[in-house]
C-alpha cells in the first residue's frame, strides 16, 4: 500500500531526526550538566548517574522539547529533582563507589591550585538556598529569570540570594586568606 510506505518512511525520517536532535542535546549540555550535578552531590559517580538518568528522561520527552533554549532549564530541573530523590530513598545502590576520585589534572600553578581548593571548599559550605542559584549562574550561565524559573522563586529572591552567596563567599575567603597569612608568619 503506497499510503503505508509513505507513513513508514515518515516514521524513519522522524526517528532519524529525533536521534540527531538528541545527540546534539547530549553533546551541547552533558559537560555543564555534569559539573552542576557534581557540585550538587560532590560525588563523581552519583553525578554521572544523575546526568545519565536526566538524559534518558530527555529522550523519552524529546518531542515536547522542541526548543533548544527550553531544553536547558528542563534538564536542570530534572537533575535537581533526581538529586533530591536520592534523599527520599533509603539507600542508593552503587557497586563500585569510589568517593573523592576527582583528580584535577589540569596544569595549574600551586598557588592557583590552593586557591581553587579553598574556593571549592567554601562553595560547598554554602547552604543549598545560596549554592544552587550561584551554581546555576556561574556554571550554567543562567540568567536571573531562568534561575527564578528553575528554582520556582521570584526574581527578587534569586537576586538577593546571589548577592548574599557572593558576600558570604568573599567574607569566608578573606578569613581564609588572613589565616593563611597568619600561619605563614
Amino acid at each position: 500500500m503506497p499510503g503505508n510506505n509513505n507513513s513508514k518512511s515518515q516514521v524513519l525520517v522522524d526517528v532519524a531526526e529525533k536521534k540527531v536532535r538528541y545527540e546534539k542535546l547530549v553533546h551541547v549540555y552533558h559537560s555543564e550538566l555534569y559539573r552542576f550535578a557534581y557540585w550538587l552531590c560532590r560525588d563523581p559517580n552519583i553525578a554521572e548517574d544523575l546526568v545519565q538518568e536526566t538524559f534518558l528522561r530527555a529522550w523519552r520527552s524529546l518531542d515536547s522539547l522542541l526548543d533548544q533554549k527550553a531544553a536547558k532549564p528542563w534538564l536542570l530541573t530534572i537533575v535537581r529533582r533526581e538529586n533530591a530523590r536520592r534523599f527520599e530513598r533509603k539507600q542508593f545502590d552503587y557497586s563500585d563507589v569510589e568517593n573523592d576520585t576527582i583528580v584535577d589534572e589540569k596544569s595549574v600553578t600551586l598557588d592557583d591550585e590552593m586557591e581553587q581548593t579553598v574556593i571549592q571548599r567554601q562553595i560547598a559550605k554554602l547552604s543549598d538556598e545560596y549554592k544552587e542559584p550561584l551554581l546555576l549562574q556561574v556554571v550554567m550561565g543562567c540568567s536571573g529569570d531562568e534561575i527564578a524559573d528553575i528554582l520556582d522563586l521570584n526574581k527578587n529572591t534569586v537576586m538577593t540570594r546571589l548577592f548574599r552567596a557572593r558576600n558570604q563567599l568573599k567574607e569566608a575567603l578573606s578569613r581564609d586568606d588572613e589565616q593563611l597569612k597568619g600561619a605563614s608568619k
Partner: protein
Amino acid sequence: MDDLEFRRRVIAQPNSEDQDILDFAGQDPERQELIDQMQEFDNALNQALDIPVPEGLAERILANTELYADEHTSQPSTVSNEPVADKAAQSNVIEAGSRFKLDKLPLAMAASLLVAVGAFFFSSEQNVNYGAGEHALAHVYHELGSLEKTNEISLERVNEQFAKLGGELKELPGKVTYLMFCDFKGQRGLHLVFESEHGPMTVFIVPSEKQSFGHGESDFHDERFAGHIERGNGADTILVASLGSPVDRYTGRINDAIRWLH
C-alpha cells in the same frame, strides 16, 4: 539608582549588561572598579568549579539511551486497535530500532574520537613537547560551552582585561561572546570567542614567556576545527574555528588589530 542598589545588583550579577548599571558605573571610577573586582571574583569561582568531566561520558549516555530505545521499541504498539495499522506500526518501530543500531558504528567512532581527544588532554598536560595545535584544540574541546554564549561583551571590556597582559585590540572581526583568563601550561592568557560568518571562533592570546605554544606546526586541524598559530615576539595568537573557515584571513585581521602597550 543609588550606590546601595548598584552594589546589590553588581554583586548579584557581575556580568550584567543592563544599560542603567553601565551608565551608573560610567559616572564614577570606583563603581567601575567594583564591577571589575566582582567579575574577577567570578572568573576565580568559574575556574574553581571547572572540574574535569569523565572521559567518554557523552558516549556512555548515548549508548545507554540506545539500550533503552532498543528495549522499548521492540514491543508492539498498543495504541491502535486496527489490526493492519497495528501491524504496520509494529514493523515501522522495529525498523526504526534497527536503524538506530546501524548508526551505532559511526556514532561510536565519533564518541571515541572525543574520548581520545579528552584522554590526550588529561594525560599529556604535563608533557611540554607535544604540539601547540593539540593543546589549543584540547582547550577548545574542554570549554565547548564557550562557543554557545550569545551575550555581547563590549570591546572596552575586552580591552580592560587585555590591558592586564599589556595589550590592546583596536577592533575584532565580530561580536565577542566569551572572555576569560585561562591557564595555558602555567601561562595566563586571554581566551575569547567572537561570532563570525563562519560560526563562533576562539582566540587565545598568550604571552610567549613560557613557550606554551612554542612547539609544533603553525597550522592544525581535526575533524571539526581548524586553527592557526601566529608566534609573535611577546605573545602568541592562536585562532581556532570550524573546519573550512578562512582561518588565515581572520588570524591576520586579529594580529593587525593588536597593539602592545610596552
